[in-house]
């Protein structure tokens, strides 16, 4: 690097560095605000906050377990639905599809990603929920009703509906990140397999997918991070009831939705503090998911690069 020449250069460099460091500052700002806002609650409820399931603002009893449970289960449902679909689509788009069809599908997926959560929720309330209630849910109940997961009354708004709407939200991100991963697999890999007389699918399975495993896992975790924090659409279809039920037809509640619903109603300090602490928990788990995802994705990138060199 050339040594800085003149005052202008120095000022500009430090200015841009300060702007770039804003991202680091923001991470600390978020952590600090959330910790400060919930310090009383943390002291008052301690570890019980995470392990008890009573959420009673009137009695000032706050346990976050139903929300943690709801977030975990709805995200799990979302992953079960979206991971196979997204990865298969990414494989289709990079390996199997005819060239002319690829770009149009990619553009459509980008448009899906651009639909705001609140609008998906609107559609969820007025279109998806009635349809789920009248057709797939009764059907599921008839077939799997003997398991605890698909028993009990059907309201429409439910954990399952929440999971489905989250799945729709994270389909585009998992698909496009997976697609990037698959595209970055060096062609050498494919050619080697083709040279052995493998079919297109065999090439994909042996050369591409096994090579990209780590990165695809990163894409899935990234999707999980988004799922955990998804707010508006879920809030509109999950039923918002703080309870732990085995049945996926029963309403649930998530960390993000309880903040969205109750924050402005929190009249007492402890109530607000408890909601801040929910925010802290949500921040913690999404940061963990994103850290893991980015590590997987970034180190995947570097292995590919060094792989291409040799």
């Amino acid at each position: 690097m050339a040594p800085p020449s003149g005052l202008g250069d120095k000022v500009f460099k430090w200015f841009t560095l300060a702007m770039a460091l804003a991202v680091v500052a923001l991470v600390f700002l978020v952590g600090w605000q959330l910790a400060r806002g919930s310090s009383l609650a943390i002291r008052r409820f301690g570890f019980h906050f995470l392990a008890t399931s009573t959420w009673d603002p009137v009695a000032e009893q706050f346990g976050a377990l139903p929300f943690i449970y709801g977030t975990a289960i709805s995200s799990l449902i979302a992953l079960i639905i979206s991971v196979p679909l997204s990865i298969a689509t990414a494989v289709y788009l990079t390996e199997l599809a005819p060239l002319w069809i690829r770009q149009p599908i990619v553009s459509l997926i980008e448009m899906l990603a651009a639909i705001p959560s609140v609008i998906l929720g609107l559609w969820g309330i007025f279109v998806m929920i009635p349809w789920l209630r009248d057709h797939p849910f009764p059907f599921l109940k008839k077939i799997f009703g003997w398991t605890p997961f698909f028993s009990g009354p059907i309201y429409g708004v439910s954990m399952l509906a929440g999971g489905i709407i989250i799945a729709v939200m994270i389909l585009p991100i998992i698909t496009s990140v997976s697609r990037e991963i698959l595209r970055s697999v060096p062609n050498l890999q494919r050619e080697a397999a083709y040279a052995l007389g493998a079919t297109r699918w065999e090439v994909t399975r042996i050369a591409v997918l096994s090579y990209a495993k780590k990165g695809l896992f990163g894409a899935v975790i990234l999707g999980l991070g988004r799922a955990l924090g998804e707010t508006m659409a879920v809030t509109m279809v999950i039923g918002n009831t703080p309870q732990i039920r085995a049945s996926l037809f029963a309403p649930g509640y998530t960390l993000a939705s309880v903040i969205a619903n109750e924050f402005t109603e929190a009249t007492t300090d402890v109530y607000l503090q408890a909601l801040f602490e929910i925010g802290l928990v949500l921040f913690g788990i999404t940061i963990l998911a994103n850290l893991l995802a980015q590590l997987l994705l970034k180190t995947m990138g570097s292995t590919i690069k060094s792989g291409a060199v040799q």
Partner: protein, 282 residues
């Protein structure tokens, strides 16, 4: 031998067909949502939707003019925060720094990008609303601005790196200082890409609701004081959607249609203006 070859071919064809079906399933929600938006929203989008304030409960008609205006005001405030920080942070990543340090900054920006948008609402609530004891347009704009920062930073970096090194060399060889080279040559060359990055980030936060719930808060009336609660289109859609009135539901669809069409328009415009390369980064 022949048989197994046939079976392998069939399997390959089956895999293609199955993954094609998956691709259709992935884009199906887009079609379903958009069709319903058109069907339920188009009839409610009329002149008064764009020109009138919401009517009191029980009175039919009215519009969302205040929410539309409020959304633009919020986006303006967000841009004041997100654009300078994002663009010049991106400049640092592309033009200065060390490989290792920039890797770390990029990493942090990408992690920050994954912070749920509702968290920004909570943070700004603690930072601004509690302090000034009022929901306000400033708070809403700040929350959206925070969300824009890592988005714009990463895209700006990408587009600056697309500027060939030859232009930097040519400028430096003229005895133009480094910072002038960056501002007048590199950034000017990449201007279209930077504008694209900003527009895409704006389109992205234009639909955000969660961070506004307890910052901008919403407002059924005109508000010209930025330190007061302000209406926003997504907030209005949300409150109408969960209301019990049919007329409000109709208006929620109308608002949703307007919002989605605007966002799609910006996305398509941007893609039309630039090559795929830039858009893909987001």
């Amino acid at each position: 031998m022949k048989n197994s070859h046939f079976w392998r071919k069939t399997k390959s064809a089956l895999a293609s067909a199955a993954s094609f079906v998956c691709a259709l399933l992935v884009i199906a929600p887009l079609a379903l949502v958009f069709l319903h938006l058109l069907r339920s929203g188009a009839s409610a989008v009329n002149w008064s939707f764009f020109t009138e304030l919401p009517k009191p409960v029980g009175v039919a008609g009215g519009g969302m003019v205040n929410a539309i205006a409020g959304s633009f005001e919020l986006l303006g405030l967000a841009a004041l925060v997100g654009v300078p920080v994002g663009v010049f942070g991106g400049v640092y990543l592309a033009e200065y720094g060390t490989v290792r340090g920039n890797w770390l900054l990029r990493f942090v920006a990408d992690v920050l990008n994954g912070v749920p948008s509702i968290i920004w609402g909570v943070v700004v609530y603690g930072l601004v609303v509690l302090r000034f004891k009022s929901f306000s347009a400033y708070a809403g704009g700040l929350a959206l601005g925070f969300i824009m920062i890592p988005l714009i930073m990463r895209t700006t970096e990408e587009v600056l790196l697309l500027v060939p090194a030859g232009y930097r060399e040519a400028s430096l060889a003229l005895g133009i200082s480094r910072w002038k080279t960056i501002v007048h040559i590199v950034m000017k060359t990449a201007l279209k890409g930077i504008v694209t990055a900003i527009l895409l980030a704006l389109a992205r936060v234009a639909g955000e609701t969660a961070p506004l719930l307890f910052t901008a808060f919403g407002n059924r009336f005109w508000n010209h004081d930025l330190s007061e609660p302000i209406a926003a289109l997504p907030l209005q859609i949300f409150s109408y959607a969960i209301s019990p009135y049919d007329d409000w539901h109709r208006q929620a669809w109308a608002g949703a249609l307007v919002l989605v069409v605007t966002i799609f328009f910006v996305n398509i415009l941007v893609r039309f203006l630039t090559r795929e390369r830039v858009a893909r980064v987001l």
